[in-house]
């Protein structure tokens, strides 16, 4: 009986259950947890976005697993959940960044971009015939020389964070971030913390399974770190590589 009652309220996304829940939005949050983890860390001199790109098979080309995307030269997005849904939102965000250039001849602010994107996501929780996005995003970048980091979840609520994780294993990563986060750390410290936090959820993680990008407050540019660069950071932090030695 309980099951039937619930079913009556999760057919349409625009229907509230009697206790005020939107089941389809909650299921979309479950979809996020099924994805591999992504995290963001705001440091004193930039933002770090990192993602665990688990591979189903050694034969897949790792480069084709897209978890971190450049949106404009000063901002990037990391995702967890349905990659195909993330691509739609990333493209929306890229277009918004260019609309800002056309309209105002200015770079879009990270907060403005995050709120435009979450407003867009929200419409998919209130429009008949649509389904919510099965993905959460982290938007990180530099705005007026200040690093900013926002989360967008499937309900379309924007949150600003100092450091946050989304996706599978989120609890372990978040716990590690909460223990180790230091607002004074530099970008290199943020990269190391990102690798350690991902390792906290997945002991077997290797640098070549990590996609990591930064936006530095000085250059205000989105940059992806190479595997060789990540290996240096990982070696310093004593992460991965043990099996080979």
């Amino acid at each position: 009986m309980q099951g039937n009652q619930q079913q009556a309220y999760d057919r349409g996304i625009t229907i509230f259950s009697p206790d005020g829940r939107l089941y389809q939005v909650e299921y979309a949050r479950e979809a996020v947890k099924r994805g591999s983890a992504s995290l963001g860390i705001r440091t004193a001199d930039g933002v770090v976005l990192a993602a665990d790109r688990q591979t189903r098979s050694p034969l897949i080309e790792e480069e084709s697993i897209e978890k971190i995307h450049e949106v404009d030269e000063h901002v990037g997005i990391a995702s967890a959940g349905h990659v195909a849904d993330a691509r739609q939102l990333v493209d929306f965000a890229r277009r918004q960044a260019q609309v800002e250039q056309l309209r105002y001849d200015e770079q879009i602010g990270i907060e403005t971009l995050a709120k435009r994107t979450t407003d867009h996501i929200q419409q998919y929780t209130q429009t008949g015939g649509a389904r919510p996005f099965g993905v959460a995003l982290l938007l990180g970048g530099v705005e007026n020389g200040e690093p900013r980091l926002f989360e967008a979840d499937p309900s379309g609520t924007p949150y600003e964070w100092k450091a946050v994780a989304i996706g599978g294993g989120r609890e372990d990563i978040q716990e590690h971030l909460e223990e180790e986060y230091d607002p004074e750390m530099d970008l290199a410290g943020g990269i190391t913390l990102a690798l350690e936090a991902l390792a906290a959820a997945d002991e077997d993680i290797e640098p070549d399974n990590v996609h990591l990008a930064t936006v530095d407050t000085e250059t205000e540019r989105f940059e992806t770190l190479s595997t060789a660069q990540l290996e240096e950071y990982a070696a310093e932090a004593d992460i991965g590589g043990d099996d080979d030695e």
Partner: protein, 230 residues
């Protein structure tokens, strides 16, 4: 896709409120034109805008002797009315509502460069035919003066003049501008430029209005005779 509210994103060249659908605007002698001389001068401490107060029908009949041709459109920005009065007034209302929306959403005012870009986009794509305003404003980067032409051209300068008296006013301004000018000196210089146009341009006259824009805001003052400031 356009009927789907989910995909309905903002056209970068149009105002968010209102639309540009009815682009046709009446032209001809029945349209009140400002004639006009409007001057904008950027100084270290702020921007001074000076205008005359005459509206005319093609410069041949004075249809109003008490027009305020500069309006605040931003906490620290003002725009002049030049050209068709209806077009210019509508342009001002549109830009003001856009600037207000931007500020209330983002918690900080638009930069003057962004406002000038937006004004250029609207002038280019919109129904505000035959307007040629000056935008003056102050932001984090300092004082700015822009002229916006009817086709949407946006040009920044230290000082600029638009309107039917522009050549006369430029003659008075040229060689007198100095970036070290105080606000008072710039006000006198603007008055001298509008005075020169008032003397010989049939589209300009009937007194003087100034807008003084500093980081604290916009102050507008009216004078019945421009010579009060000389």
């Amino acid at each position: 896709m356009s009927n789907d509210p989910i995909h309905d994103t903002q056209d970068p060249y149009e105002p968010e409120l209102g639309s540009f659908d009815n682009v046709e605007e009446q032209s001809g002698d029945a349209v009140n034109k400002t004639g006009t001389t409007t001057v904008g001068i950027a100084t270290e401490d702020g921007v001074v805008i000076g205008t005359d107060r005459r509206a005319s029908l093609g410069g041949r009949f004075v249809s109003n002797k008490n027009v305020q041709k500069v309006e605040q459109i931003h906490p620290t920005g003002a725009l002049t009315l030049v050209g068709s009065v209806g077009g210019a007034q509508s342009f001002i209302r549109t830009l003001r509502s856009e600037a207000n929306l931007y500020e209330s959403r983002r918690g900080e005012p638009m930069s003057i460069h962004a406002l000038a870009t937006l004004a250029g986009n609207f002038a280019r794509g919109g129904p505000f035919i035959a307007i040629n305003p000056i935008l003056g404003g102050v932001d984090e980067d300092g004082s700015h003066v822009y002229s916006i032409d009817p086709a949407g051209g946006v040009m920044e300068d230290d000082y600029t003049v638009t309107g039917s008296g522009m050549q006369l006013a430029h003659g008075a301004l040229e060689g007198e501008y100095d970036e070290e000018l105080s606000i008072e000196e710039a006000t006198t210089l603007a008055a001298r430029a509008v005075q020169a146009a008032t003397e010989r341009d049939t589209g300009s006259g009937n007194g003087f209005v100034t807008a003084t824009i500093t980081e604290d805001g916009v102050e507008i003052e009216k004078y019945d005779d421009v010579t009060e400031l000389l």
